[in-house]
Symmetry: C2
Subunit: 213 residues, 2 copies
């Protein structure tokens, strides 16, 4: 029995995700997708307007999955009765590290896609997914009672995320003398420990009055 | 008059840097370099063992330049009598942001190169250059009187750097509702303010006893 439209879309997206993971956006070709799905190139374009739409749909699946991972990590800690903010942020960071490792090609492709679309009009369903991810982090920070207003807490959540992202992906840590995974985790621990301590002591307001350089 | 060997090496590296900046490592081809330099492909390989060596030499020039930028930023502040650690780290971060903007293709290529060589034996002149960059940040932290030992201070310097790097390069901040450069700078200010405050309050020791996840 032939697949219906929704099943075929799923099949196309699974193939596209594997292609992105193997070789990034350059590896995403309608002909390869069609061949692997056993359909014509025209059929791919009946399902998705263009390859950008395919990539966008793959990214939304990945962002959904990352969000589910973060929420699951938080639920785990809640079951264990862990409410400490530092521990909760570390658990989220650990979930992110594992997610990046599990998606060596497709995750950098999500980020590259986001950078390319930076000038597009929004907000839309895609932006809403990104914001939902930041909201998970902001929710943990809210439990910390740091006396931040919503804007500042959202900025702190984005800053933490970018920083952990930088630690996970930076080429700097690739020192031949150190073991990469260990170095990454030491940096994450130091960042989260220092960041939470800084928030506890009002560090988020230290920049008031700083002249932009 | 023909260029001598050193002058020709310089010419080859300038061409290679431009190629890397335009299209990353994939764009670095011996034939293109030879053509633009007006020499044979064989002559390129008389100067450098292989393209990896060319890339490595370009990277060392870039790392040198980045180090000089950081040192110049510190000297500027010293002349102005600014000794505040937060201001000095912010000035270094600003210098890094400008450097990344000025090298949109060649800088990501440095990082990708570093990741590829992560398993190589070392240390060597290349590692020494990377370490020298971290030492500049560690030197600023030392002035902060945070009661850190050398290892912890070096880890804090690498962590700060990775974090700023993540903020500058993360695709997450590319929200259509915000202006990219402004968002980056707000995140850097928050990070540095919170991080310094956290160090002042012993946050670097918060992770003692944390079970690695």
């Amino acid at each position: 029995m032939a697949l219906d439209k929704e099943e075929m879309s799923e099949k196309v997206l699974a193939i596209a995700e594997a292609l992105l993971n193997e070789g990034g956006a350059d590896n995403l070709k309608a002909r390869t997708i069609a061949k692997q799905a056993g359909i014509s190139v025209g059929s791919v374009y009946n399902l998705f307007a263009d390859l950008d739409e395919v990539h966008r749909a793959v990214n939304m699946r990945l962002l959904d999955r990352l969000g589910a991972t973060g929420i699951a990590a938080m639920a785990d800690l809640e079951r264990q009765g862990v409410t400490d903010v530092r521990h909760r942020i570390l658990a989220m960071a650990a979930a992110y590290v594992r997610f990046v490792e599990a998606h060596p090609g497709s995750w950098p492709a999500v980020l590259a896609f986001n950078r390319r679309r930076a000038t597009r009009p929004g907000p839309d369903a895609y932006d809403a997914l990104l914001d939902a991810l930041f909201d998970i982090v902001a929710g943990v920070l809210k439990a910390g009672d740091f006396d931040l207003d919503d804007d500042c807490r959202a900025l702190a959540a984005r800053t933490l995320w970018s920083s952990v992202h930088g630690i996970v992906t930076s080429g700097y840590v690739a020192n031949s003398n150190s073991r990469q995974a260990e170095e990454i985790w030491h940096q994450v621990e130091l960042l989260v420990g220092v960041f939470v301590k800084g928030l506890e002591h009002g560090g988020a307001f230290a920049h008031a009055g700083t002249k932009p350089v």
